[in-house]
């Protein structure tokens, strides 16, 4: 899924770069706001209480922020590791995990965008995996678009039902569909660059990635259940989030 340099023309690479920069700036602002708000709300709540609890309030807010940072760093490490594992799909093709749905389920879409963008940057800069000129396009395809779509699926599922199966079903759908969106975005960038006709590349990309998406869903479910199911995550109902 990582586009190498040469596949996209300069206008598309530049446009995608601008888009990715905008998304990064917005995500950064959102995550910073969330961290700040949590601390401020707790301080405000406790201001009316005895002074001794104020200290506890601030440290609770800070421990929330620190835990979120730990989650983001662990996700970066896990997603980097899992993206190394290409699994065979059909007739001599392989695919690998993306991780946007997993990251979004655990830390929300904005932090997920930061985590995935960091991984994609590391891969391009250090491991020559994905081009540097097309880094913005890879960020959009692998970090920005799939994380936002995963959040949409998770949020819709929360509104539709509170069945105990909701978590598993919404994670599965989010994982699979986010891979399909990544493949779609990649196809559009290739077509816009004049590399290949849209119809041609889109059907081929979606065909292969429909299978890769099944792997994505299985890996997402397994690692969510193993390591994140007991933490406060974005899969929980609104009222108990971060509780």
């Amino acid at each position: 899924m990582h586009i190498p340099d040469g596949f996209l023309n300069n206008p598309v690479s530049f446009g995608a770069g601008l888009g990715a920069l905008g998304a990064l700036a917005h995500s950064l602002k959102k995550v910073a706001q969330e961290l700040k708000l949590k601390v401020a709300v707790l301080q405000h709540k406790l201001a009316g209480n005895t002074g001794s609890q104020l200290v506890g309030g601030k440290s609770f807010g800070l421990s929330f922020a620190n835990r979120k940072v730990e989650q983001m760093a662990s996700l970066a490490a896990l997603i980097f590791a899992l993206q190394m594992i290409n699994f065979p799909v059909l007739n001599g093709t392989s695919g690998h995990f993306i991780g946007a749905a997993l990251a979004t389920a655990v830390v929300g879409p904005w932090a997920a965008i930061l985590v995935l963008s960091l991984v994609v940057t590391l891969q391009a800069v250090v491991f020559a995996d994905g081009g540097l000129i097309v880094l913005g396009a890879n960020m959009l395809n692998i970090a920005v678009f799939p994380s936002l779509l995963a959040m949409l699926v998770i949020t819709l599922a929360k509104r539709l039902t509170d069945s105990p199966l909701r978590k598993i079903v919404s994670l599965t759908v989010a994982a699979w569909i986010s891979v399909m969106l990544a493949a779609t975005a990649c196809s559009f960038e290739l077509a816009l660059s004049g590399t290949i006709a849209l119809g041609d590349v889109l059907t081929a990309m979606l065909g292969v990635h429909a299978l890769i998406g099944i792997g994505e869903a299985l890996i997402t479910l397994a690692f969510f259940q193993l390591f994140f199911s007991r933490q406060s995550t974005y899969l929980q109902p609104e009222e108990s989030q971060h509780a």
Partner: protein
């Protein structure tokens, strides 16, 4: 995240990147396959930067060790840089009183 679970997760990451990755499929990935089939694979240019190309240290003769070490270094870099970046963000976002 409890520390024990965090350490377990990191150990799993190192295991995946340092060991399991040696057994990863070497078939072309989805995009590469499509590029090959549709005839635009040769458009790919040489990477501008290749510090550890193909997830394997060039300077190490033993291929298994070279690949394994590259994975371990990558996990370290991913965790370390995200952690550092997050800490800076927390410090900047926390009102000081």
């Amino acid at each position: 995240m409890h520390n024990r679970k965090l350490l377990m997760l990191l150990a799993v990451c190192l295991g995946i990147a340092g060991f399991l990755s040696l057994y990863a499929s070497s078939f072309p990935d989805g995009l590469e396959y499509v590029a090959e089939e549709k005839g635009f694979l040769e458009r790919a240019t040489e990477p501008l930067l290749s510090i550890i190309p193909d997830y394997s240290f060039a300077g190490i003769a033993n291929e298994t060790l070279a690949a394994s070490l590259a994975g371990v270094v990558g996990v370290g870099l991913a965790f370390g840089s995200m952690f550092l970046f997050g800490k800076i963000l927390v410090n900047r976002s926390t009102p000081t009183e």
